[in-house]
Structures are given as C-alpha cells and as structure tokens.
Symmetry: C2
C-alpha cells in the first residue's frame, strides 16, 4: 500500500443523505489522511456541504449524478432505471478503476444487484454475501450472510464459510479462525437437510477448515466460534433481533436510572464506566457490512446511521482494500480447487 | 374454574432435574395454592426431595417412572424407547384425564413428538408450534414458532397466526391483537415465496385479522405488533440471539461497574433501580413456552433454568388451563371455516 487509496461514495444513499454522508467522510478523513474520495450525487446539494468542511478541500472530488435510488425501489427496477443514479455511478467508478472501493448507505438490494452486474462475482463464487462483525463476550465474531440471499443451498453456505474465514484472517488477524453453522441445535440431526449437507461438505473440505459443527443463536454473543455461517434470511433476522435487543436494553437502563433520584445521584459516579460499556456495543461501531465474493470492495452502511457510523463504514472499505481481502479469497478458492483435483487424481489412480 | 387444577410434571427433564423441578413446584405452590401436582420420575430420588419441602405434603403425588429421556435423544428414538420415561408418563396423565396440563424442562423434540402422538393436534391445525412472550419497549409480544417446525409452508404460518392471536387474547387480554410476519424487509416483494403467499392468505382471511404485513427482527423488541409469526427455524434463532444479546449486555454492564471504584461507589445508590431493570428482562420471567395446537396444555421450560424459572413455566400452564386457550383456538378455526364456506357459497351462487 503506497499509492493513496481512492474511495467512491454514494453520497445520496441513506435516510439522512447527503448531509451525514459528507460529515462522515470528513470524520473518515481525520482517521485516514491519505485517502481520497469521489462523491457521487446532486452537485448543487453536495458542493456547499463539502465547502463547509475545510478538511475536505484537498481530498474530495464531486461527480454529478442526477438520480437517487430510493429505499423502497426493487433491485430489478433500480437496475433498469438507475443508470444515472449516484449509486450506479459510484460503483461504476470502481469498475472503471477510478476508485478501489465503494461505500453506500442506500438500498441494500439495489446496491448488491448493481455491484454484481458491474463487478461480477469472484471466480469460483456462486453468490456474494453480506458480512459483518458482531460484538461478543470474548471479542468479535464474523457473521454472514446478513441478507443478500434469502434462500441458500449447501454449496452457497460452504462458500460463505470460506469467505468468512478469509475475512476473519484479513480483518481480525486470526491464524485459523473457527467456523460454525447457525442451526437450532448442536446435534447432527438438527435443522434442515441443506444445513446437514453443508456441514458434511465442510467436514470433508480439503481446506482443512476449523469447522466446529452446528451452533445456536446464543453462541454468537458467546463468541463460541470466530465465523458464524448462515443463510441471508436467518442472518438478517439474527442481526436485527440482536440490534433490537441491545437498543431495548439501553432504553431500559436509561429508564431505570431516570426512575429514581438515588440512581441519578449514583450515576454521577458510575456514568464514565457505563458510557464505556454502551460504547462497546454501540451499533455505529459495527456499522459497515462488506459484500464479500465480488471483484471489488463494496461496503454497505446502515441507512439510518449518523456521521460517526458512516465514517466507520468508510473504515471497513479502507481496511479491506489495504489488506487485499479479495486476493486472499481467490487464493483460498484456488487452493481448494487444487486440493480437490489432487484428491480426484488420487482416487482415479 | 372451580375444581382444583391438576398439573402433571416431568420431574426428570432438564439440566438440574429433579432438584430444581421439585423446588420450582414448591415455588409454584405458593403462587397457586389450589393447584395439585403429579410428579413423574424416579421415586427413590423424588421422595426425599418432596419430603424436604413441607408445603408440598398435601399437593404432590409422586408417580414412579424408571426411565429418563436425555437431552440428545432423537425424537424418533424417544418415541420408540421412551414409554417408561417420566416425560411419556407425564404426558399420558393428561391424555388419561388425570391432569389438565403438563410441564417439562426436558428434550424439546421428544416432548413435542410424544405430545403429538398422545394428544393429537386440534382439529383444523396441521402442525403445533412453540409459543412464548418476548419483552418489548411497550410490553410483551407473542412469538411463534420458536422451534417445533424447522420448515413451514404458508398454511402452517397462517395457522400459527391464528393460534398466536388466540394466545395473545387469552394470556394478555388483548381485544384484537395485531399480527406481523417476520421477514427481512417490510416491502411486499421481500423474503421468500412462502412468506409472500402467507401474507396474501392473511390479508384475504375471512377472520378479519389485524394483519400488519411484514416486520423485521428489530420490530420484536420495539413491540411493533402483538403477535410475531415465523417458522420454527427463524423463531428459534431469533429467541436464542435475543437471549444471548441480553446476557452479553448484562455481563458488559457488570464488568463496567467492576472496572472502576467510582462506578462501584455510585452503584450503592443506583443498584435498586438497575436491579429492577435487570428483572424486567430476566429470562426466567419469560420461561415457559406453550406448545399450541394440541388437544391439551403442554409447557416446555428452558432446560437450564432454576427453580424460579420452572415455577414460571408452571404458571404458564396454570394460566392456559384457566383461560381455556384450546377451546378459543377451536372456536376461531370454526369461525374461519364457516366464513370460508359462506364466501364459497356466495361465489358459486
């Protein structure tokens, strides 16, 4: 990594765009002073926002894109009508080699559909997945798929396992991450036929993955494994249920403190420690899900995040580009194919 | 409700049986002084435990059952070999009319399989479901299925909606509970074909249910709807992910307080308020999942719960019997069938 990175930004995606996007880029700029940004969107709206952030003057280029993909647009509709959208143009910049990765807080389905069309999937990967980190008792766990594929077959799940393992090694620096398949029981006979088949394939894999078998929903927070593999439907429900529960807990905590004068007095002393605790599970800290399995880095920010959260999503993109995740996934797949070929040769010999 | 209820207890099921089961029955006895209990299990182990609890002397009858269904037994195996088990005998007591409902902390799959065989499903119900309450920002939400059916079709989901609605009316006293289908987005095109079909059936239902469409994982904790309907795979993952997140949060909270002397000092004042908050999300409070859709009341306690949790599971059984949930579900299904017949007549006329 010597040349400065260029990150392409869909400045019009998300609930509070483009304001929080520009502010988020300004925050990211502080953390990554060598990174440059291409901002795609309505130039008339973006120019004054960028001008107001002094630190963006030398690192941001605005590129006009007149259209916006709305949050409720179907992916197929976005593909047909979105060629002049900020989202399309931002992804296209990566395809054209003008940027190394793209960040958007816009419509997830549209972002995935456009990314697939423009970047194509990595050779050997059937379907890209959405991948992110969950906080756990012992650190962080990689979870995928978080919503790209509502229905998956066993082979998809095996590919997710390989990509998740590479992600854990690249982002968390783990030597040999352990892998679990999310199920409704740890016994071999539990769950669906697809899960049992995927488990068998992972056990038999020539990659010699550290596959720990089935795990359950509470194993995510326990940190039982480093990589939790699931289909996009289950993963999305698990992600949002965890977010909802964490928010509920924070609200209950605040309400409990406000309910008593004595508690409010005690909080004068306990606040700094509790703030650290709340920061530890702050969803903004975990903002920025990576689309793995594409020929390029695409990061999806939560649509409702603020500038701090958006800056974290930019950070995920910067990290993934710097650590060259896609090359690593490609090497892993090649290694698997070679091992499979050798084992086939041995069988026929 | 004038005759005293008799509850049948599988005294050998669960991680800490029979000790916590007997203690749990003793706690339940205080809350429900008119209820009688039949305890099934190893008489030699149960007799001294029951004798040690003075308040159980006039309300408990021990019935010997030599075998135990282990936690890892397959349902099919439990059915073949479990006829002398405490679980089988406890369910059989309901079938024979000796008890009005059964509570077990044992193997969920075996409990469901045995209950189905002995009690049969309610007329008009294809598959029973596991149903429980989740704490929410505004109260409580009924969620089902929590794990009985890993794969469901649209009709199963519609039946779950009807049963969940009756459960909300019976247990929470709601007039017209709102219903949501758990999905990975609220837009009509999101999710699986099965979910889209179930949504259409619920919209078209002659029961005029208050169907609110699709909801997402975070809507459970928000309390967006009164009844959240999902397949048993997704529901089980959501339940355990929520439990895991709540536990993680509590641990982070405790660790934060212990990390600083100042916080520990502040806690002297804030502890009562925080304890109330933790009690509000105490999983023991939500222990006791009902198997809905059977000709009888079957309540599953968490296998790892303590005596307080087990007593709460007994409470769910007592409530369901007192409020005659199954009769209400039967009436609702009859009303639906009648409405369907009328509408069919109108169409052919």
């Amino acid at each position: 990594m010597s040349a400065p990175q260029i990150i392409s930004i869909d400045a019009m995606g998300g609930d509070h765009a483009p304001e929080i996007v520009v502010k988020g880029v300004a925050f990211a700029r502080i953390r990554y002073p060598k990174t440059k940004f291409l901002l795609f969107g309505d130039e008339a709206r973006l120019a004054p926002l960028v001008a107001a952030e002094a630190k963006l003057s030398d690192c941001v280029t605005i590129r006009h894109a007149p259209d916006i993909i709305t949050g409720d647009a179907k992916p197929s509709q976005a593909l047909r009508q979105g060629r002049n959208s900020s989202m399309w143009k931002a992804i296209e910049a990566v395809k054209l080699g003008e940027a190394s990765g793209v960040v958007s807080a816009g419509n997830t389905g549209a972002l995935m559909a456009m990314s697939k069309i423009m970047m194509r999937t990595l050779s050997g990967i059937d379907r890209p997945a959405i991948c992110s980190l969950f906080p756990t008792r012992v650190g962080e766990t990689v979870v995928l798929d978080l919503g790209a594929n509502a229905v998956c077959d066993a082979r998809n799940l095996v590919e997710f396992a390989i990509m998740g393992e590479c992600f854990a090694r690249a982002l968390l620096g783990m030597e040999r991450p352990s892998i679990g398949l999310l199920n409704i029981g740890s016994e071999d006979f539990k769950g669906t036929e697809t899960l049992r088949k995927a488990a068998q394939m992972l056990r038999d894999s020539p990659l010699e993955l550290d596959f720990q078998g089935f795990i359950e929903g509470d194993d995510i927070a326990k940190g039982t494994v480093d990589v939790c593999v699931t289909d996009g439907f289950t993963g999305n429900v698990a992600l949002k249920t965890a977010e909802g529960t964490a928010k509920l807990f924070t609200e209950f905590l605040k309400a409990a403190i406000k309910s008593s004068w004595l508690a409010m007095f005690g909080m004068i002393f306990a606040r700094p420690a509790l703030s650290r605790m709340i920061a530890r599970t702050d969803p903004r800290r975990y903002n920025g899900a990576l689309f793995v399995g594409l020929n390029g880095v695409v990061v999806k920010s939560h649509g409702g995040t603020d500038a701090v959260g958006f800056a974290n999503a930019v950070g995920v993109a910067v990290d993934m580009i710097a650590r060259d995740l896609n090359t690593k996934i490609g090497e892993e797949l090649e290694r698997m194919n070679a091992a499979a070929a050798t084992s086939a040769q041995a069988t026929t010999a």
